[in-house]
């Protein structure tokens, strides 16, 4: 029983970081209707910013979190401006967005490899002791706990912005209809700026958390494939769906590696993706997509 509970806790902490990534991805999807494959690049840069803040600048770790969130947010916004805005102004079909995003992700990954940082794996300095906190028979890893707390707090913050503030209202309006909200005086450019900024913040946090849990390397962004799966599982474009999908995916993954074999973990995740797309493409909470003539 305690083994099961242990897996549940591990799953929750992994799932909460997936949620940080898939929420950013889902935010972009809800408004621009394309899969932002460059999200992984932003996560990777966030992880590196955090790493260098801690090793070179020796700042306290919560300030490193803020710096890496800000840096990643800035990167996401810049990318939107350079890569997506020209396409958006031209009303390009979604494929061009996807290909540009792929190009941006190749660019970011390789510029890190080519720069002096290089392709080596780097591990974060130990901030916490690795001895877990014991709750009866269950071991709570300190980093796992941190992952869960930071993710939960930032998701609550995001929900507050979306649900309670005026800019949140305009984000929600734009996700229903870009044309309609433009006519109502919503500045769509500003809304898109904000969603990329928010998505970038969360990506920076997620990158740093993953870096602390595992290591930092240029391909760490590939982990976002999991967040796409989670977002599809929860329903593309739905934020609560993305969170629920991520938590479930985290649980499923830890259960698979705990009870079956970690070899089947990724396979099962992709099998889940395909079966969701085949049987219920709208996911758990997705909007029904209508064919627009």
């Amino acid at each position: 029983m305690s083994y099961f509970l242990q897996q549940v806790i591990n799953g929750l902490s992994l799932g909460s970081v997936y949620a940080l990534m898939s929420v950013g991805y889902s935010l972009v999807y809800s408004i621009m209707n394309f899969s932002n494959f460059a999200h992984g690049g932003v996560i990777m840069i966030g992880a590196y910013i955090g790493y260098f803040c801690l090793t070179l600048l020796n700042v306290p770790f919560f300030i490193a979190f803020i710096i890496s969130a800000l840096g990643a947010g800035l990167l996401a916004v810049t990318m939107e401006k350079i890569v997506y805005r020209p396409l958006r102004k031209r009303n390009a079909p979604f494929l061009y967005f996807i290909i540009s995003a792929m190009g941006a992700s190749i660019f970011l990954e390789n510029i890190v490899i080519a720069s002096p940082i290089g392709p080596t794996f780097r591990s974060y300095p130990a901030i916490f002791s690795t001895t877990p906190i014991m709750l009866g028979n269950i071991a709570l890893g300190r980093i796992d706990l941190l992952m869960f707390i930071i993710s939960a707090l930032s998701l609550i913050g995001l929900m507050y912005i979306i649900e309670k503030t005026k800019i949140g209202l305009s984000i929600r309006a734009t996700s229903y209809s870009i044309k309609g909200s433009t006519l109502m005086g919503v500045n769509v450019d500003k809304v898109i700026f904000i969603i990329f900024l928010l998505g970038g913040f969360l990506a920076g946090l997620a990158g740093m958390l993953f870096g602390m849990k595992y290591t930092v390397y240029p391909q760490i962004g590939n982990i976002t494939t999991k967040s796409f799966i989670a977002a599809v599982f929860g329903g593309l474009g739905s934020l609560p769906g993305a969170v629920i999908g991520s938590i479930l995916l985290g649980l499923i993954e830890t259960m698979t590696s705990g009870y079956l074999s970690s070899q089947y973990r990724d396979l099962l995740a992709f099998a889940l993706l395909i079966s969701v797309l085949v049987f219920k493409p709208t996911g758990l909470m997705g909007k029904t997509t209508e064919d627009k003539a």
Partner: protein, 301 residues
């Protein structure tokens, strides 16, 4: 540059071209986007390699025939798989279909990672390379592939596919079975990818699941877009350019992929119609071009 090196790159271009031709039919002419064609290449590669290595029934003198049978088997198996996948996922719209193909491509790779019969993650070594994927064979196969593709596109079926690309709903309204044509297009492109996989296996002499990652699929789709959607000659030119370019830039080592990423973004922003922009190379077109320029000259004088 020695001839061995150049012919090596030419063979690589030919292998890429096979998949790109199939993808060109799917993406350029039918308007469906796949990020999973590396998966079809993987199926073709493993099938063809198994046939040449484990099913030696023909005498050694007939090895070339055996090789062609292996390639066809690779193509057919990947076509059958594509029919199953297409039946399940072709009803999905836009991004959802993209993500489904992505998931499928990765799933194939992960399955191969775990099948011990095919060597798991270590892959299959010792695939015969003598007298298999030679430049002559690659050219013969590509010429056949291009001819068949052009014939399909020029036929009624090809025009129906273009109609689906342009206006799916209208095509359905005038009584064309949209689903059937999408499935046909996917199956043909999977066949091409399977044959390309077989060629690749016999060129390199070994295959590993990691060769067929999503990056490979993306690279192929990028080539199609770069050449120009809806243009066979664009695909040919695009493939040769994009296979040679990284080789020429090899001295820049790591920076070439940075340039590549930047170039992709730049093309999307500045020339979204690609190199050929849906036009084809033809002798008539060249003559027309020359006449046009001569005409202009006359007006000026």
């Amino acid at each position: 540059m020695s001839w061995g090196y150049v012919s090596g790159i030419l063979i690589l271009s030919g292998i890429n071209l096979m998949t790109v031709l199939g993808l060109s039919l799917l993406t350029g002419f039918t308007g469906l986007f796949s990020f999973g064609h590396a998966g079809f290449m993987a199926i073709g590669a493993y099938t063809a390699a198994t046939v040449t290595m484990k099913l030696n029934i023909l005498p050694q003198s007939m090895f070339w025939l055996h090789f062609y049978i292996a390639l066809a088997a690779g193509g057919l198996v990947s076509m059958i798989v594509s029919l199953i996948i297409g039946r399940l996922t072709l009803n999905l719209k836009g991004d959802y279909f993209c993500i489904a193909t992505l998931g499928f491509g990765e799933a194939i790779r992960l399955i191969l990672d775990n099948v011990q019969y095919f060597g798991g993650a270590r892959g299959l070594p010792n695939i015969p390379t003598q007298g298999t994927t030679t430049l002559t064979n690659v050219i013969i196969i590509n010429v056949i592939a291009i001819t068949v593709l052009v014939l399909i596109i020029k036929s009624r079926h090809g025009r129906n596919m273009v109609a689906i690309r342009e206006e799916e709903l209208a095509t359905q309204t005038i009584g064309i079975d949209v689903f059937k044509y999408k499935l046909t297009s996917l199956a043909i492109s999977a066949f091409y990818a399977g044959v390309a996989g077989g060629l690749m296996a016999h060129y390199l002499g070994y295959i590993q699941p990691i060769m067929f990652k999503m990056v490979k699929s993306t690279e192929l789709t990028i080539i199609v877009i770069f050449g120009g959607l809806g243009s066979v000659s664009g695909s040919v030119v695009g493939t040769i350019l994009l296979t040679f370019l990284p080789e020429l830039l090899r001295s820049f080592s790591n920076w070439r992929l940075v340039l590549y990423g930047a170039a992709v973004i730049l093309i999307m922003i500045t020339r979204p119609q690609g190199l050929m922009g849906g036009k084809e190379f033809s002798i008539k077109g060249i003559i027309r071009l020359i006449e046009k320029s001569r005409h202009k000259g006359e007006v000026k004088s």
